[in-house]
Subunit: 358 residues, 5 copies
């Protein structure tokens, strides 16, 4: 991890002092070819093209259909620059599209909305993935820029293909909403999954024997929840600004839907806060468990030592070699001694029972 970070640092270092609007791709996902996926549709028409040439997308702009161009891969900065040129995107927008470390935000330009989000999902290898995704929502087009070709938009694609769906009947703003709604819906799954992790960690701490790596696992949960939180928390403001904008690109009827997404975001944030509290509490509980184990260890030691040390002392007494020790010569001394020892033993046992140590 340290190594990984060091290389990122170098990458960042390289961009320091560059004129703004010239920052390169900062993320870590490298792909071989950029898939450009173009959906072109209206109420009664629908076309879907996959291409590697970004210029294939340009012929669509003039039509009065709605165009969704999805760029799968941020490494081909050149192609993205062409697209930016064609749609008249501000240089700072292009920089932020490529800066995968950027936090979620919305910038309102007269011609379009620029929205930065984090797509959280479990990828094909079932690994938790945070992917930087940018949306440009204009009057009749939506541009999306993803880091990898894997995504969570299949259901949206299905609804575009269905002529009955609202997406086909509403404007580009509704398509933008549908994409964001899908992303937010996925947060629920991620957060639920996190809740399960916490519960299984609780089981580990309480029921099973916590191992020495438990604090490390808890620390990893802390990191993860902080990462999720950082991706999700700023969305509250993003959605709120989209809901309240006066820009005509965002139609009145779409705002109701954003209000709905806003409710979801609030709920997700609440859950995250609760899980945060619980993860922090886990450490306390682990400490308690460790303390309890220590108590048990000490009890065993104390019981054994407290029983046998006095007995050993008694045995030691009659191991002495004094010439004049009358007890040594009585016939039943030995048996009496065993009796005394048994008595001491029983008193001890009784004492421990009363203390509830046994």
């Amino acid at each position: 991890m340290a190594k990984n970070n060091k290389s990122k640092k170098k990458r960042i270092a390289k961009t320091i002092g560059k004129a703004p609007g010239t920052g390169g791709y900062v993320g870590q996902k490298q792909r071989d070819k950029t898939d450009i996926e173009i959906h072109e549709f209206a109420k009664d028409s629908f076309e879907c093209i996959k291409t590697n040439n970004v210029e294939d997308a340009f012929k669509f702009k003039t039509t009065d259909q709605i165009t969704w161009i999805n760029i799968n891969g941020l490494n081909l900065t050149e192609e993205i620059a062409k697209l930016g040129d064609f749609y008249g995107l501000h240089p700072l927008v292009l920089e932020d599209i490529l800066n995968t470390e950027h936090r979620p935000k919305v910038d309102e330009y007269p011609e379009y909305f620029f929205i930065v989000l984090k797509m959280l999902y479990f990828n094909k290898e079932e690994q938790f993935t945070i992917e930087h995704i940018s949306l440009i929502v204009g009057k009749n087009y939506v541009l999306t820029f993803q880091e990898s070709e894997e995504d969570i938009f299949d259901s949206v694609r299905g609804r575009i293909a269905n002529p009955e769906s609202k997406i086909r009947n509403f404007g580009a703003d509704y398509l933008g909403f549908a994409l964001m709604d899908t992303i937010v819906d996925n947060y629920f799954a991620i957060v639920e999954d996190f809740g399960e992790k916490i519960e299984s960690m609780e089981d580990q701490v309480f029921v099973e024997n916590p191992v020495e790596s438990t604090p490390q696992d808890i620390q990893m949960l802390k990191r993860e929840i902080l990462k999720i939180r950082r991706s999700v928390f700023p969305l509250r403001e993003v959605i709120s600004r989209l809901e309240k904008t006066e820009n005509p690109i965002m139609e009145e009827r779409t705002r109701d839907y954003f209000r709905d997404v806003y409710d979801h975001i609030i709920q997700i944030n609440e859950n995250i806060e609760i899980y945060r509290d619980m993860v922090w509490g886990l450490m306390d509980m682990y400490m308690t468990t460790v303390s309890n184990k220590m108590n048990n260890i000490m009890k065993v030691l104390t019981i054994i030592a407290t029983i046998f040390i006095p007995l050993t002392f008694i045995a030691g007494i009659y191991g002495m070699n004094f010439e004049y020790m009358p007890e040594l010569h009585f016939k039943y001394s030995y048996y009496v001694l065993w009796g005394v020892m048994a008595l001491v033993f029983l008193i001890m046992l009784y004492y421990f029972r009363r203390k509830k140590w046994l």
Copy 2:
């Protein structure tokens, strides 16, 4: 629990990417038949009908009486959809009625208020239950949608039956208030009960012998208070918005009553915060108790070891087999030795007393 969550996750996963307004029932309570309970009343008339056919409710809309339709069970989504159609409810409203995970909120539509609440009560089996309940409050109708047929509204039903009551003399908004007031009043009982649980837990930690499961119980209290908090906290804003609305559905005189409910909510929230503080403090106290027990264990060990180890050493000395050990041959050596040992023993006792270990 983990299993339970997993299945919920799957259910949520199924709704991801669906067009909004098509989400299904997410809760876990399944009932066999939907009870539809219709109250129809005015100042001088009153009727109460139980039916399974939601269409029985529709004949009432045209009359200038006040109608309360109570749907007991969210599983019959079809029937609910019919009702939504009849009263012109927004698709997102229908979705939120069925989404039992939704947090409390109020949405104001021109024709009605849509209010989502959590009903907290102890059910017939005396189990703590959180039930999702939605209210639609219109000009002359109130619709309520509950998860199960059990509820806490019997007193409201009684007041409707009584022609002298305010409910009979005021509008639908007052009926809506009365239902919400009953829900909030119940929170007091729930929160008081939680207070008692904390106190009995404190007794367990301090007075009785805390057991190893205590941290687990404390953790469960933490979870419960977080759950209650999540259900109750958003209500503050809900009630505040109802109090301040300018929508004519909510009459002036009803607002005074909402202000009263608002005061109650503030008070409940304060109590919850105090209990939260106290539950968090419980863990500290448990740790202290554990530490104190450890101290006591160590004291016993130390006292026993400190007394007998030196004595055993002395005995060991005279168990040596050297040829020339003058003490061995004195006549009273043995008795003198006992005296020395007794002295050592008494000194130790005195030392421990002074240290207040005994």
Copy 3:
């Protein structure tokens, strides 16, 4: 305590679902007779009556003097209802007068201010008492409703009797202020007393030997400070609203005085926050003290064990019965051995001194 709470819960349960405005007396103080105390005064006249008949108070309303009616006891709800009728009080006001669990607040009605406060004082038995008190401040009358006949208003009564005093020369609003000012001034004494308790607890934790009940005592302090805080904190807003009201009942000149009370409330709240911090810190310190004690116990054990275990081993060696052990037959073996043991002992002592354990 648990029992106490349970009965309160039942009482609360009884009021759930009742129409608002019909709630009964929830507090726990029951008295045999209601004292009604009437002060009637103007610049140049003064009369004080004690009676059991609330109707004795009504003849005063028409005069242009100022009337202060003080009801000592909330159990005679009937009499209070009559008074409410006579002065035209809102049903919700009457309900809140009787609800001793209600938090401090101010409600502004066109004809009067309704103010709920908590009176904190040490009663005749020197017990800390929280008493619910409500004030109605109208144009030329002040009504106060207390739980018990004990109160802290004697100085106000004295000032009313004094024709030179401001109370006699200003309006009913100033009398209301004087009563509230007296209540707030008492908070200082309560908070100071709490500060002393913390200090004596600190002494107990640090200087004297903390006992096992210390965490319990600390927990009780926590509860108490939370209770005080809950009574005092909302006052900030109450006073602030009285200071800023535009209602002509509250005259301009009186507002300056409320600003002064406001400053006091801020200061009390600050002190409470500081004491809160300190009480929370006490637990940490107790833990530290417990840990230090454990360290001392372990030191004693370690010193004794570390000195005598090796010595016992040496003694054990020469207690063996081997036929060929040359040392056993040397003349000075025994004395040499004592020397060796003394040496070991001294080395150990030196070692512990260097470690600062002795």
Copy 4:
């Protein structure tokens, strides 16, 4: 301390219920004579008088010079009352001047500003002192009321004596600013000194051997920082209101200077928050140090016990008196045994080394 508090409590108790505006001197500093120090100056004239008769100050009011009257001692309430009469001060102002427990604030009256501050300094005996100081800033006069004759204004006196200084050339508002600026500048020294105390405490906890009184010292630091914070924190609002006032007493050009003081206050508050965090962290570190010491103690015990207990057992075996123990009669048994013991010893040593306990 407890005794001290008790007497203060009594003093406060005495003022409860008094009419406002009649509160007496609550502080603890008693002096024998009130020094009244009068500075009278204009651009080209300057006079400084020390007197015990407050009426000496009155002749100056009519002149169009600027007058600074500094009252050293709050015990002569009579004299202060005369001054209040002469300058037309509100009775509540006089009360707050004498109430040394009052928190910093500013009250704006048409004719003057009333400012309450805390002067923090190390007095002649190098003790940390918090002194209550009030300023009245009028059109052409400044009144200051201090608890003791010691203060930190010598530099201001010097600047008044210097005809080139801004104080001589600007109005009374600038003199007021100069005094407040001096007070705030002193906070820096106090806060820096506190930072040093924290560092030396850190050294004590880490490098040197923490003693058992360390938690007590940390607790004292906590108290002290809370006291400083309480004195300094409210100043933020005070200065901000002075900067933004529209009252013509405060001239435009002086506001720039108040903005500068405001910056300083923010910075001081930030430092205080940081030190607060650090003091709280000290307790954690002390606990860690205590735990580490415990670990070391336990290591010593464990090493000694683990080495010698098995060896003692072996010795015990051959101390048994069985008739038939072949080993006892071999010639080299004794030497072999020593070898075995040495081996056990070395294995143990190796084990502890590997565990890094040695």
Copy 5:
């Protein structure tokens, strides 16, 4: 460190009570000569001069080119005063330029903006350095005042030299932005580096053997993050005010760029908060590790003691010298005894295994 602080305290003490606008240089970096670096450029012209005479800069003011004067060293207060005179800077501005303890802020004057920042970087010796830097941004000039000659502006210098760059084509406000942008970009590198330190500390706590100095290292990280936070946090407001100013010095097009910087600052602050949380968590983890080590130590002790103490007791029994002990005379007693001991040993082993201590 303590010594260092003391001397600073003295320095601060010296400035207390001085008239504002006369404060001297408070920082600790002393250089031998002040480098004055002058960049003079327009779209088609460019000149860069290094000089020691501040008056060399003055000839440029009248030209309609843009002038950037960079003062490397705050010790030559005289030269800075001349510059302040020439550009008409407010005395308080000059004071704040020299006060290296000042927190970041922006002051808006009609003729210029005065901006105080902290430059964070690793200097030539790879040490983390916080340098106080002030910017004056006027209509056609930018003045910068640094503590040392080392800085991070080389890339800006390069862009000025390049006639194609935006700096050459935009106004002085854009140059100001470029400098601030470079400073903010450097924060990323600093914060990333801090993240690496935390990770390596985590490794030290978890994976490697934490040493006793670990808490000290953690405490140092705490201090460092608090220092960084203090330098960076106030920038949020600074940039926000620059973005929203209505002063024409700041052109419309430059504001978009400030919005971009604002996003960066938010992101840096978020990262700092996360790292803060993590550093605080490190202490908990260290405690856990210490507790785990203690548990392991105690386990070893308990296992050894629990096995050998009973065995030693048995051996002790048969070391007694009673005349009548039948077992001593049986032929196989000794071997049976070994068997019994082996059995006890195995039972113990089994017990520890079941407890998972082995």
